[in-house]
Structure formats: structure tokens, C-alpha cells
């Protein structure tokens, strides 16, 4: 290196006295500079904390998004399979309808049978008028049903449909014809002529 006496002398003087020469001016602005630096410092604690919070929030958001995405994907797959199933079914149905135009049977299965007797009216000695309302049934239509009741015993064929009401007149089989017993009677007496003749009669009927 190109050394020189002037360089050495100047360097020595500056190195030995450097801290004192500009000290007052330097110290005057030191605090002000530090305050500005604090504001501009990208690595400050506050920023670091903010970045950490943002990072944590991003991770949580990513986690939630993943779960939601997985659920949506699962739901979409399920819907897709259902859509495929119904599309296939519809195709089959259409095909059947086209092939068998006049022979489409629609079978309706109803659940459970509850026959509710709403009104019972005695119109004659032998018959009862009953209003029957079909609440629900498991049987097919056009089924013979029997109402089990102590007072009535009958068979009837009706179209049983849910929510339908109808009226029946049932025979009360507990009624039997009344057999009249012969009366045994003793009569005394006779007619006026006999009375006059004092002839009394004892007759048996």
C-alpha cells in the first residue's frame, strides 16, 4: 500500500481525538436519530410480533379452509353419486314407460291400519250405522277388512285409501228372534146366560 507521512500523521491525530471533536454535535442529534430509526426499523419488536400474529392467523385460516374444502369435496362427491343414481333411475323409468305404455302399475303401500269408529247410531234393533275413517293402512287397496268389535260382525269390501271416510251398516248378530212361550191361563166363568143358568164353566186354553 502507498503509505505517506501525511496520511500517518493525520490518521494518528484523528484516531486519538476523533471521539471528542464532533462529540457535542453528535450527541445532540443522537436521540433524535434513534427515535427516527425506531420508527423506520423493520426488525422492531412490534413488527416482529405483528408478523408472528399474521403468520399464526394464516396457519389457522389455512387449517380451517382445508377442513371446509374437504367437507365440501365430500358433499360434492355424495351429491354427484346421488345425481348419477337418480339420473340412472329416471332413464330406466323412462325406458319402461316407453316400452309399456298402457301397463304402468303404481303400487302404493300405506302404513299400518287404524280404523277409527267415529259415530255409532242405532237405527234399528238389528243394524248399526257406523262412520269409518281410514287413518293409515299397510294393506293394498281393494282389501277386505274386518272390524273386530263385540257388538258387530261383518265383512265388507271397500277401497281403503288413507284419509277416506265412509259409512257402513253392520248386522248385530247378538240379536236373536224372540221365541214366544205359550201362556198357561185358567179362566173362570162363563157368559151371562151361563151365570144366569148358574152353569159355571172351567175352561183350559
Amino acid at each position: 500500500m502507498d503509505t505517506n507521512k501525511i496520511d500517518e500523521v493525520f490518521k494518528n491525530i484523528i484516531d486519538n481525538n476523533n471521539n471528542e471533536y464532533y462529540q457535542s454535535k453528535a450527541l445532540d442529534s443522537k436521540e433524535r436519530i434513534w427515535n427516527k430509526l425506531k420508527m423506520a426499523n423493520p426488525n422492531s419488536d412490534r413488527r416482529a410480533l405483528l408478523i408472528k400474529i399474521l403468520a399464526a392467523a394464516s396457519i389457522i385460516l389455512l387449517f380451517i379452509s382445508s377442513i371446509l374444502f374437504y367437507n365440501l369435496k365430500h358433499e360434492y362427491k355424495r351429491n354427484q353419486s346421488l345425481a348419477n343414481y337418480y339420473t340412472t333411475e329416471l332413464k330406466n323409468l323412462n325406458t319402461n314407460l316407453i316400452i309399456q305404455k298402457d301397463t304402468v302399475y303404481i303400487q302404493k303401500y300405506l302404513h299400518d291400519t287404524i280404523v277409527k269408529i267415529e259415530k255409532r247410531e242405532k237405527i234399528k234393533v238389528e243394524y248399526l250405522t257406523q262412520n269409518i275413517h281410514i287413518v293409515d293402512t299397510v294393506y293394498k287397496t281393494d282389501t277386505v277388512f274386518k272390524i273386530i268389535d263385540k257388538s258387530v260382525d261383518f265383512n265388507i269390501t271397500k277401497n281403503i285409501n288413507e284419509g277416506k271416510s265412509f259409512e257402513i251398516q253392520s248386522f248385530e248378530n247378538t240379536k236373536r228372534p224372540v221365541v214366544k212361550n205359550k201362556k198357561f191361563a185358567l179362566r173362570f166363568g162363563g157368559n151371562n146366560n151361563d151365570l144366569e143358568d148358574t152353569r159355571l164353566a172351567f175352561k183350559h186354553e
Binding site: M1, I6, S29, I33, D45
Partner: protein
């Protein structure tokens, strides 16, 4: 994090702290925290470590900038820029030893100072000094120089002379580094230095004559 907090406690109250590698007790009653440790905690984002680094090297960088810029307000701006850059890039720089790290900081301050001058006016490297044969040794021996005279002489030099002389003679950079910093050729750097020396000798001669 706990380590940083401990260190911050240390920085504040000059107490002992626990390092990450184990229970490392520093008897730091009268001992400053080493630069390596400060850098480490700066990298962790500790505000107090930044403060400590600033506190430790503020004057050094102030003087480096001051010798180039002269104006105190310009120096303030440059110091802010320099420390901002240092704090921002402290994670990127590789710590080898204290000297290399200090040189890195000084280089940042010098570059910022040069950039500042260039932003205001283009640096001129004049060639107007005529060489005068003077016996430097006898002149320097006769004069009793102090810091005021030295700075007065340096501050009177033209920008190009002053910067090259400061970088070479005071800061210890070689012509290759100076040429890169100032974006000039090495020969220009050498000629600027030579002429700066001549100008200084002339001024010393004038000073000697005035003194007499």
C-alpha cells in the same frame, strides 16, 4: 425468546443472563456485551439489541459520514439511512469477526454518504493542482498539528480530494475499493490522492507561514 428477554434485562441493568446453549453466566458488571452477542439478538429482533448496536457505533459512523459530508444535517440523514440499512441487512451479513463487521458498517455509511452527495450534485474530481516539491517530513516535524487544524485542512479540500484522501488515509480502503465506491478508475483514485496530499502540504505550508 426467553434468551432475548434475559439479554434485554442484561442490556438494561447490566445483570447476568442465561444463554440458549445453557446456563452461561456473564459477569458483566463492568463488561459490555460482545458485538457477536449483540448481532445475535439483533437477528432475533430485539429492540434493545438494536439500541445497543446503535449506541456502540453511532459516533464511529457519525465521524465517517462527517468527514465525507461536512454538513451536520446531511450527516444526520445519512446516519438514519445507514443504520436502517444495517438493521435491515443484519440477518444477511456473515459475522466473521468484529473488524469485518465494523468495516461492513463503515462501508454502508460511506456508500450512503457518497450516494447523498451524488444526489445533490455530481462529484467532481478536479486536476488543477500543480505539484510542488516540498520536504514533507521536515514540514510535519516543525508543525504542531492538532485535531482542529487537521479537520480544518481536510474540510477545505475539494470533494473529490477529500473523499479519496479520507477513504484511503483515514478509513484504510485501497484504491480498488475506492474506485468501486466512487465509480471511478483506480488511476483517478490514485491521482486524486496524490493531489489531495499536495493540497494538504500547500495548506500546511500556508499555515506554517501564517503561524510564523
Amino acid at each position: 425468546m426467553a434468551e432475548v428477554q434475559f439479554c434485554e434485562t442484561f442490556l438494561y441493568c447490566q445483570a447476568s443472563f442465561v444463554s440458549k446453549s445453557g446456563f452461561k453466566r456473564l459477569n458483566c458488571k463492568n463488561q459490555k456485551l460482545e458485538l457477536k452477542e449483540i448481532i445475535k439478538y439483533c437477528r432475533s429482533g430485539s429492540q434493545l439489541a438494536f439500541n445497543s448496536l446503535f449506541d456502540k457505533y453511532y459516533q464511529l459512523l457519525y465521524h465517517v459520514s462527517k468527514r465525507i459530508l461536512i454538513n451536520h444535517h446531511d450527516v444526520e440523514d445519512v446516519i438514519i439511512q445507514s443504520f436502517t440499512k444495517i438493521f435491515k441487512n443484519i440477518n444477511k451479513v456473515e459475522y466473521i469477526n468484529d473488524q469485518s463487521f465494523v468495516k461492513w458498517m463503515k462501508t454502508i455509511a460511506i456508500n450512503e454518504s457518497i450516494r447523498f452527495i451524488n444526489s445533490k450534485k455530481q462529484l467532481e474530481f478536479i486536476e488543477d493542482v500543480k505539484a510542488i516539491e516540498i520536504d514533507e517530513d521536515s514540514l510535519l516535524n516543525e508543525l504542531e498539528l492538532d485535531i482542529d487544524i487537521v479537520y480544518k485542512i481536510i474540510n477545505q479540500l475539494p470533494d473529490g480530494y477529500r473523499i479519496v484522501f479520507t477513504l484511503f488515509a483515514i478509513e484504510g480502503f485501497n484504491h480498488k475499493d475506492i474506485s468501486q465506491m466512487l465509480n471511478i478508475t483506480e488511476s483517478t483514485s490514485k491521482s486524486q490522492l496524490r493531489k489531495a496530499r499536495i493540497r494538504i502540504v500547500n495548506q500546511l505550508k500556508d499555515f506554517e507561514n501564517g503561524h510564523k
